[in-house]
């Protein structure tokens, strides 16, 4: 160690920071002056910073004067700076690095025009520095990697020749729900199947019928009875809703004012499936005070008929329906089915003589002999299967007959509507199991709700449905790819179209997002408790898939490897048959290498691979195999795998490489390569416009995803699930978790697109949300699953990345939150001031969810002990401020516990999980910042943080710098970072400006 420094430390620091005491875990006496070791350098830098901040030495322990402090700091800083600068000059800031797993995968996807190729999981996990797999020192190579590269490249290349010689023509196929085995019963026991599905037109409310007839597609469907409930009718007058008597249709019936004035009218309109004779039935409860002369009017094919009905009679069919006559609707002999057949029934209360009840009307088709047409074939078009649950393994209902024949673009259409299913109650005596539902379980009241599968009506609201493609029968996170979303409307079904890219063998999977996904060990009846008014579902009529729409043939992936070489079929794939193998091998290879190597290909390097190909051909290998082997070799070669460069100014090719791996996670595209060729990339305007172009490309989304996954650790979002006793409302709520991630990505992408200030990382008055997330955040009035920008109310604690649900979830486990975990995360990720790890002798805090003590009380020790306090005075404030949010990031006033509390809460959770928990202690989210400013809650805390925007801007700049340059930000880089900040100040540290200034800075343009 240099003499001057040694003296300084000896005088002012060693007393506490020596071998014996090592105060705060720091032993300066034995600390090497070894700036080659990054870890040791970090310690020296920390020492420097604490002395600069006058945190050390502590005032009461030493008499360090200002001048002496200044001299020492300059000396220390100067030495570290000069050492690093010398290193940079010799080696560059960034050591050469290989591509990481995701970059490798993206490169192959781009190269082979194969957007759904998956090879990353075949490669071992990458090492990370500061959470980013972009720094060379952590990206090691072992035989494991090399072997994996060979296997991955080969499998990716072979995909490119897996197609028939003849271009497949697009076809359109419709798959009717009525004919889908998977839409009858699914897997699992029939109790669950009966809960999950209802098949239109079948009276299958009992086990036997469901099992036997439900499985039998040949079973003829009961003719479609059209029912129109009062909820779909047109009214005049202030009808009263009633549920006093139970023999009504739907959720309620209507009653007038018993004045017979004629001011109350109701009109039911229906669209009948085809012309013919129907029996009209009406429901009206019945009873002694009802209207004796209720005037009905029927409009039919032959005109109008008026009828006066005595509503004191109890309806004759099942106490529910009263037939009032048979009428013809639609013109007979019409032939074509295209004209809709409209029927209308109306009722008024004029001179009715008693209470007029209006409920529902029904049209029952009759066959030619005038008999109720029990056996009429319901058209496949009209029949549907309704699904009453969200998707969750193993209960995926869907159209399994479709499997994509070949990889490519398709159009997907679905016809669907939302419905509501009635629940009924079943009671029984004694221990014997109920006759119709033996699979279900008794509850304490001995009455339990059960689905009534032939009482299905129009839904009350539209239901969002998310459509996925999946290559696995039992899909998981890895295999599902969202295709689109739509909202199935109530009343009449609609057809929704979306575009999809399918892998070969892909299937369509449906998720009725809002509906609960009952999870074992929940029983069907517990789910019914959730929706006492009726159970929402989505009825699917059919799935239609048209395609494949193949833009070019042979496909682009083949052309990328074999250009225009003609093909011949060989089993399930093609082979390339060139006329001049050697010559064409050379041409193809040259194009390939130029594309994947990021610099001009040296002759020697071209020869190396060309001679290999030649050797293979001479040994008798086929052209296709020889090329695949040669390409595999190129893709495993160090010139492909590594970013290299000489220390100093980067040349155009290296800049293009760095830029495309920063903002596109892949090799430069054609446009960028051309600019590099032309030597234009050292021009600041060109750089600026390229950055803009890359950010706006669809591949720019990769940057947002990978950067956030690493920076905010969002790739860990599914590591824990919320505890089902404490947080029953979140069980099986994948919609919420997916929406959280989507919000973070959209928000961050918008920060860049709109050049928004860095302070929006901490707080903002807007965010991006869909219905589910808005509900989570307590923002009313957001309907539907599409994401949109929303304003946040003034007193909302949300807004800003700091309080996004995704961040709050990854910093908690499923049971408890931890102020220390959250506090450290905020300091590390958002403020750029990572705290030192805890001293090894300190035992970890043991969380106690039995209710008596809060985590805050358990952490008191840290604030009382001086050596703990030095770090905890910084860690605790953000940690405490964020205690206002639960494990899923929702605002809470109280903790929840399993042991004791002020109130006992029990019920049924989102997945039918019965739970008991207690309202625990009130949350105390107050604290004091290290500067001494107190705050009551996170809103006040955010305001305090925002007093120093530069800290926030500096942190995000440094995070982006590590990501972009593949090197940690060193002590010697600080001046440059400050320069970047200065240039961004005018835009209030705009995020796009920061990115631009990073790309323009020497930190980026030098190795």
């Amino acid at each position: 160690m240099p003499e001057a420094l040694s003296t300084f430390f000896g005088n002012h620091c060693i007393d506490c920071h020596d071998d014996a005491e090592a105060s705060g875990g720091l032993n300066i006496q034995s600390l090497d002056w070894n700036l080659d070791d990054p870890h040791i350098t970090n310690i020296w830098v920390k020492i420097h910073d604490r002395i600069v901040a006058e945190e050390m030495p502590p005032e009461d322990a030493s008499s360090l004067g200002e001048v002496e402090r200044g001299v020492a700091i300059e000396d220390l800083a100067g030495r570290i700076q000069r050492f690093q600068e010398k290193n940079y000059a010799k080696h560059g800031r960034a050591v050469s690095r290989r591509v990481n797993r995701f970059e490798y995968e993206n490169i192959l996807r781009d190269l082979l025009h194969d957007p759904t190729l998956k090879v990353a999981d075949q490669l071992p996990l990458d090492g990370e520095v500061h959470g980013f797999a972009k720094v060379g020192t952590a990206l090691d190579v072992s035989h494991v990697q090399v072997n994996a590269y060979l296997d991955a490249a080969e499998s990716a290349l072979r995909r490119a020749i897996e197609f028939p010689v003849e271009k497949p023509q697009p076809q359109s196929n419709r798959y009717y729900a009525r004919e889908e085995p998977r839409m009858w019963a699914g897997t699992g026991n029939t109790g669950w199947a009966r809960f999950s599905l209802a098949l239109e037109g079948l009276e299958i409310n009992d086990t036997y019928s469901f099992e036997k007839k439900g499985f039998d597609p040949a079973y003829e469907v009961r003719a479609e009875v059209i029912t129109v409930d009062n909820t779909s009718a047109e009214l005049t007058g202030t009808w009263r809703e009633s549920t006093k008597r139970s023999n009504h249709v739907g959720t309620h019936y209507l009653a007038d004012n018993n004045e017979g004035t004629g001011t109350y009218t109701i009109s039911w309109k229906a669209e009948l499936p085809k012309p013919g004779t129907y029996e009209v039935r009406v429901s009206f409860i019945g009873g002694k005070d009802m209207a004796r002369k209720a005037p009905y009017l029927i409009r039919h094919a032959e005109g109008e008929t008026q009828l006066t009905i005595d509503q004191t009679v109890i309806p004759t069919i099942e106490n529910l329906w009263f037939p009032i006559g048979r009428f013809r609707f639609g013109s007979i002999g019409n032939g074509s089915n295209s004209e809709p057949v409209v029927a209308e029934i109306s009722l008024s209360n004029k001179d009715a003589n008693g209470w007029v009840v209006a409920d529902a009307v029904q049209f029952v088709p009759l066959d030619d002999s005038g008999e109720e047409n029990q056996k009429a074939q319901l058209s496949k078009e009209q029949a549907s299967t309704a699904i009453f649950r969200g998707a969750y393994t193993p209960f995926y209902y869907g159209f399994e007959k479709f499997k994509a024949p070949i990889r490519g673009d398709y159009k997907v259409r679905l016809k669907a509507r939302s419905v509501l299913r009635q629940t009924d109650y079943v009671e029984w005596e004694g221990e014997k199991k109920p006759r119709h539902y033996p699979a279900l379980v008794l509850d304490a009241t001995r009455r339990y709700p059960t689905p009534v599968n032939d009482q299905i009506f129009s839904g009350k609201r539209s239901e969002p449905v998310k459509v996925y493609s999946s290559t696995l029968y039992e899909p998981n996170n890895q295999s599902m790819l969202p295709i689109g979303m739509f909202e199935a409307p109530p009343d009449a079904p609609e057809v929704f179209e979306m575009e999809a890219f399918f892998e070969k063998g892909a299937m369509v999977k449906l998720d009725c997002m809002r509906l609960p996904s009952p999870m074992v060990p929940a029983m069907p009846h517990t789910i019914q408790k959730i929706e006492p008014e009726g159970y929402p579902g989505v009825a699917f009529h059919w799935l239609e898939v048209e395609g494949p729409f193949l833009k070019e043939w042979p496909p682009a992936s083949y052309k990328a490897l074999f250009g225009d070489v003609p093909t011949e079929q060989s089993g399930r794939h093609v082979i390339a048959v060139p006329t001049h193998p050697l010559k064409e091998a050379g041409e193809l290879l040259s194009g390939f290498m130029t594309r994947v190597y990021r610099r001009p290909v040296a002759d020697a390097e071209f020869d190396r691979f060309y001679l290999y190909a030649k050797q293979l051909l001479e040994e008798g290998e086929t052209f296709t195999e020889a090329m695949i082997a040669t390409y595999s070799a190129v893709l495993a070669s160090p010139e492909f795998l590594f970013h290299c460069g000489q220390p100093g100014e980067l040349d155009d090719f290296a800049i293009a490489e760095r830029l495309s791996f920063f903002l596109g996670e892949s090799i430069p595209d054609e446009s960028l390569r051309a600019l590099a060729q032309q030597g234009k990339l050292r021009d600041s305007e060109t750089l600026r416009s390229e950055v803009n172009r890359l950010l706006e490309k669809p591949e720019g989304r990769r940057f947002v995803k990978e950067f956030l996954d690493a920076w905010l650790k969002l790739d860990e979002i599914n590591d824990t699930d919320p505890d089902r006793e404490l947080y029953p409302e979140y069980a099986g709520d994948w919609w919420l978790v997916n929406s959280m991630i989507e919000e973070s990505r959209l928000y961050f992408a918008d920060l860049i697109a709109g050049d928004r200030p860095a302070r929006n990382i901490i707080d903002a008055d807007y965010t991006f949300a869909d219905e589910r997330l808005a509900l989570h955040y307590g923002v009313p009035g957001v309907v539907g699953p599409t994401f949109r920008r929303i304003s946040l109310p003034e007193n909302s604690p949300y807004g800003g990345i700091l309080t996004q649900a995704s961040v709050l979830k990854v910093t908690a486990n499923g049971t408890v939150t931890s102020p220390v975990l959250r506090g450290v995360y905020v300091m590390e990720r958002l403020l750029g001031d990572p705290p030192s790890p805890p001293p090894p002798s300190v035992p970890a805090v043991e969380p106690d969810i039995r209710g008596a003590t809060t985590i805050r009380e358990l952490l008191k020790k840290h604030r009382e002990d001086a050596s703990c306090a030095s770090c905890h005075q910084k860690i605790d404030p953000p940690g405490f401020a964020l205690e206002g949010f639960d494990v899923m990031g929702r605002w809470r006033e109280n903790y929840r516990s399993l042991g004791e509390g002020s109130e006992r809460i029990e019920g049924v959770g989102r997945s039918g999980n019965e739970y008991v928990h207690f309202v625990g202690n009130a949350v105390d989210a107050s604290g004091v910042t290290p500067e001494g400013d107190p705050f009551e809650d996170v809103l006040q805390f955010k305001k305090l943080l925002l007093k120093n925007e530069e800290v926030i801007a500096r942190n995000i700049t440094e995070q982006l710098l590590v990501y972009a340059t593949g090197a940690p930000v060193g002590f010697a880089d600080r001046d440059e970072v400050s320069a970047i900040l200065e240039k961004s100040r005018a835009s209030e540290f705009g995020m796009r400006t920061i990115i631009h200034e990073i790309v323009q800075s020497p930190l980026f343009l030098r190795k």
Partner: protein, 417 residues
């Protein structure tokens, strides 16, 4: 948990045929080889139910150890062990067998794992230098010299196929062709890397050199694999297991993997195995009677709640029972001298002492078999732990590796003979 053995396993009627080991000059009188298997039970055990209260030969069994009491004389239980400098809670799973410090730090580099040191010594004697296995998790216990993770085989069915399914002559030719093809590709890229190495700056050269080492190492392995490809694989009575897809069938998966490990050792397909029983990513655990408890990770954060604790205990009891079954299976295989357990060092433990608080000290560790003198509780200082690597040194020496250090060891383990 009652034992519900799947019918594919017939311990009684196992007949295993091994290829003649002519080229290695082994005679039938030669002693059985030494093997090693290291198992990490991801979420560990509730400390006060695992650790015995007394130490030495006459220690009283703890509630969990009761489950394997029939094997008392064949295992040693330790307390007061850990890896110095290893912290980071869950992050320490990747340093369980490497002891590289501070796995949670931003600049962490891992180092070679115990099993790879052993594999470097004995690996070339078997078809597979070593096997890295994992359940329900992508992470591995095995790391190369360069600190790169060796990916695990995640399905007992896949492992079975690798070990025992023999293709026909054509398939074998095809596989040999593949291996040779890979070898020829490596020659090409090796040439380029030598060339590149001269062009780059000093610090970059290290990276390129590491790549070169990797390529050469792979070349050697491919050559070995070619030699093995020509030899017939062992045949076994057991059928291909139906490995569950549902992550909650955790216990079934553990059983199947344990069985595959036994078969692998028994057929001398390998002498070095690591097995990671990943429970952090196991959503829930299904018992034989159909009940599912879970999520497992959630329960490990019991927060002292009685209900959670009792559920966690049920799961952990089951884990111990499965371990006991495994030891029993190893014992039931007779070898020339003793049984398979006598000739296999079994390390079983966790990188966390108490998952509820995520600490990495006072780790639960059991060592079984391998010919050590067992039947004790070796208790070390709970405030000032002894390095776990000392046990590793003892294991290495037992395997015939001439060394007296490994990572953070201070010697071999006192009291372990």
């Amino acid at each position: 948990m009652k034992t519900n053995r799947r019918t594919f396993l017939q311990t009684a009627g196992v007949s295993v045929s091994l290829p003649l080991l002519e080229s290695f000059g082994a005679s039938s009188v030669e002693a059985a080889p030494k093997r090693m298997i290291a198992i990490n039970q991801d979420l560990g055990f509730i400390p006060k139910r695992f650790f015995p209260k007394t130490a030495g030969r006459d220690y009283a069994m703890s509630p969990y150890l009761e489950k394997i009491t029939e094997h008392r004389e064949q295992f040693t239980v330790f307390s007061g062990l850990s890896h110095p400098g290893v912290d980071g809670g869950h992050r320490a799973d990747k340093t369980f067998l490497t002891a590289a410090p501070h796995p949670g730090r931003a600049s962490f580099r891992n180092s070679i794992s115990l099993d790879q040191v052993i594999a470097n010594e004995v690996g070339n004697k078997t078809r597979f230098r070593s096997l890295s296995l994992g359940i329900n998790d992508v992470r591995s216990l095995s790391y190369t010299q360069a600190g790169v993770e060796i990916p695990t085989i995640k399905s007992a069915a896949d492992l079975y196929k690798k070990m025992f399914l023999q293709g026909d002559r054509d398939a074998m030719e095809a596989q040999l062709d593949r291996l040779r093809r890979k070898g020829s590709i490596l020659d090409v890229v090796l040439g380029q890397s030598s060339h590149l190495s001269k062009r780059v700056s000093d610090s970059d050269r290290q990276r390129i050199d590491q790549y070169q080492t990797a390529v050469r190492s792979l070349e050697q392995r491919l050559t070995d694999a070619e030699a093995w490809e020509a030899r017939p694989k062992p045949t076994v009575d057991e059928a291909l297991p139906e490995y569950p897809e549902d992550k909650k069938e955790f216990f079934a998966m553990v059983r199947m993997m344990n069985d595959m490990c036994r078969l692998a050792l028994q057929t001398d397909s390998t002498r070095v195995i690591t097995l990671f029983l990943g429970s952090v990513r196991t959503p829930g655990v299904t018992f034989d009677d159909g009940r599912t408890l879970g999520g497992y990770h959630n329960l490990s954060h019991h927060g002292k709640d009685e209900v959670k604790l009792s559920r966690l205990e049920e799961i952990e009891n089951a884990q111990m029972e499965l371990f006991g079954e495994f030891l029993r299976d190893l014992k039931s295989v007779n070898e020339v001298d003793g049984n398979l357990l006598d000739n296999t060092i079994v390390l079983y433990g966790c990188h966390m002492g108490d998952a509820n608080i995520h600490n990495n000290s006072n780790l639960p560790i059991i060592l079984a078999g391998g010919g050590f003198q067992h039947g004790q509780h070796l208790a070390f200082n709970s405030q000032n732990n002894t390095p776990l690597c000392n046990v590793f040194v003892s294991m290495l020496q037992n395997m015939g590796v001439e060394t007296d250090r490994f990572a953070s060891s201070t010697g071999s383990l006192t009291g372990l003979v």
